[in-house]
Amino acid sequence: MEYGLDKRSNALKIFNTTFIIVWLLVACFPFIWTFWGSFKVRADFFSRADWWYAITAFNTLLETGGKFTTDAYSQAWTEGEFWKASRNTVIVTFFVVTISLFLGTLGAYALSRSTRNYAFWILIAALIFRAMPHITLVSGYLFPFFQLQIWGILPTTIVVLVAINQPFTLWLLYSFFKTVPKELDESALIDGCSYFQAFRHIIMPVMWPGVITAGLFSLMLAYNDFTVTALLLNQENHTMVPKIQSYLGTNQHEGNLMWAVSAVVSATAPLFMLVMFFQRQVISGLTAGAVKG
């Protein structure tokens, strides 16, 4: 709060700065450290002898002859088949985002323009659906999916993730469409457009800021999901996050833990880039539901 009247004492300023620096260290250092460690060998990053090795790269020098090595990356991506997992993630994320935006914009537009009671109840139902732990839903899916023999394949997972994502998308886009003046499409209706034409020609051109925000959240959900992808996909079709977990499971293998480390870095980096570019939209999306009530 920057007010002319508000004079901050120096002690307070120093305290504030220290607090922010400490918090940022807590928030970011784990990621920086993992990024740094992913270029070492296991004996350095998980050193039994001396954690200082992770910095001086004692064993990395011995084993590879350099201070940094990209062995973990090349092995995880080829031998560990991380390329396949990332390909699957790209497929799943792309379809989940496209489909859930398509369904979500239509539904949320209808909700925002309806004055009936049921619109309110649908929103409440969506809130309840949003609260369901994903694992309880998965326990409902598994049995029918086994019976129908659609378990393990990517399309099933995509449809499930779209559905799980709908409540949040609906709420987000609903509050966005509420800010688009009603007069805009009403005038089109008076001119003889149908609702679909009004949506297509009047609303679609102005809805992109809201859609980008909703798209980012769908993307983060699909990209980050563990519960659904780990249990509904077979080994072959695993996306990145369950793949990382599978590297942990086989600890006996010397290289595998470092595969997990490099996989974590590979999976996180694109996400960080994306959030860096779209920070404004992410924050506006998180606050959309809250600040407007």
């Binding site: 928030a27 784990p30 954690w51 539904g107 909700l111 659906f129 732990p133 563990f226 998180l286 600040v291």
Partner: protein, 342 residues
């Protein structure tokens, strides 16, 4: 908007939600009344020159035949709900009669898998949610006092723990806290105890997971509070400064009342998310000393031999009941507001 148009606009998303959120809940409900078939056993007589022995073996053929005929399992009614792995009604009755003191009774009950998980889940919610609100609010206040120019990067750094998936977030911390990681090794040196490891004791594991929870969720609270702080009206604050209100008094009597609705929103969302805690348990490989309700379901579903659909479904239904209890106050309030608004 006419009902008919609304119907066609809403049909795709409504269908998706009914098919893949509504129906699975019903399917879970049905599954919870069934239990997996017992294995069919048969006696096999084996004779060798030294005599005959009778051994009991599993009749694989018959077992798999029964399983194929009735894949859902046998009807069990509320049997799964009250068995040892869930509400354990019988066991609790037994403990009540057999134990001498109330403390001993509580001790026995909290060793049952379901109650153990319930207690961890509730403890996690109870410690994480208030701390998330508090830390998020403090970060929002202090970032709000920083020059506008450098806020962007600071906000980016702050929200990092939130945007990574819980599994990755907990792994990244685990690798540092582990006995071979940078923090773990230094703690060992500091405490002069080479066997000290955050994983070795139950209390330390719980504390680690709770700290992780606060680390992971605070950025969300921060973002919402930060946005709310931008909407605080300036006039009352200035008036309070002229009247000589201290900084704390301004926060307490002007800022907090203004952002109060947002605080309830964050508390609700955070409570809902914390109640489903499960990925950090896998990330910290803490299955031994910390289990949550969601973890119990996951464990049943990845069971090696035969997937325990019934058991998972029963735990799921009870989790849903828990969520309903958490949500009830909010729903009742919304309902009242809705009625008065009409």
């Amino acid at each position: 908007m006419p009902n008919k148009t609304f119907f066609w606009f809403f049909l795709p998303t409504g269908l998706a939600m009914i098919l893949f959120i509504g129906l699975p809940i019903i399917s879970t409900g049905i599954q919870s009344f069934y239990a997996q078939h017992d294995q069919v056993v048969k006696e096999v007589k084996k004779c060798d020159p030294f005599g005959c022995t009778v051994s009991i073996v599993v009749d694989q053929e018959k077992t798999s035949k029964i399983r194929d005929e009735k894949p859902l399992g046998k009807f069990n009614g509320f049997g799964t709900y009250i068995d040892r792995n869930h509400l354990a009604v019988e066991e609790i009755g037994k403990f009540w009669n057999e134990t001498n003191s109330f403390g001993e009774f509580v001790d026995q009950v909290t060793n049952l898998p379901f109650y153990k998980a319930l207690i961890f889940t509730l403890t996690y919610c109870l410690f994480v949610t208030p701390n998330v609100l508090l830390l998020g609010f403090i970060i929002a206040l202090s970032l709000n006092a920083v020059t506008r120019r450098i806020r962007g990067p600071l906000i980016f750094g702050t929200i990092l723990p939130m945007i990574v998936t819980p599994l990755v977030g907990s792994l990244v911390l685990f690798w540092m806290i582990d006995a071979e990681g940078i923090i773990g090794a230094n703690l060992q040196m500091l405490m002069d105890d080479p066997y000290l490891s955050l994983k070795s004791s139950k209390t330390l594991t719980w504390i680690t997971i709770i700290i992780y929870g606060i680390w992971h969720h605070s950025p969300f609270a921060f973002v919402v509070f930060y946005a709310a702080l931008q909407t605080v009206p300036q006039e009352p604050v200035e008036a309070a400064i002229i009247d000589g209100a201290s900084r704390w008094q301004r926060v307490r009597h002007i800022v907090l009342p203004h952002i109060y609705p947002v605080v309830t929103f964050v508390a609700l969302i955070s409570l809902m998310d914390n109640f489903r805690v499960f990925e950090p348990i896998i990330g910290f490989s803490a299955e031994g000393s910390a289990q949550s309700l969601s973890w119990l379901i996951y464990d049943n579903l990845v069971n090696e031999e035969v997937i325990l659909f019934g058991s998972a479904a029963a735990t799921s239904m009870m989790t849903i009941v828990g969520i309903a209890i958490l949500l009830a106050p909010v729903l009742i309030r919304t309902w009242k507001e809705f009625r008065t608004a009409r």
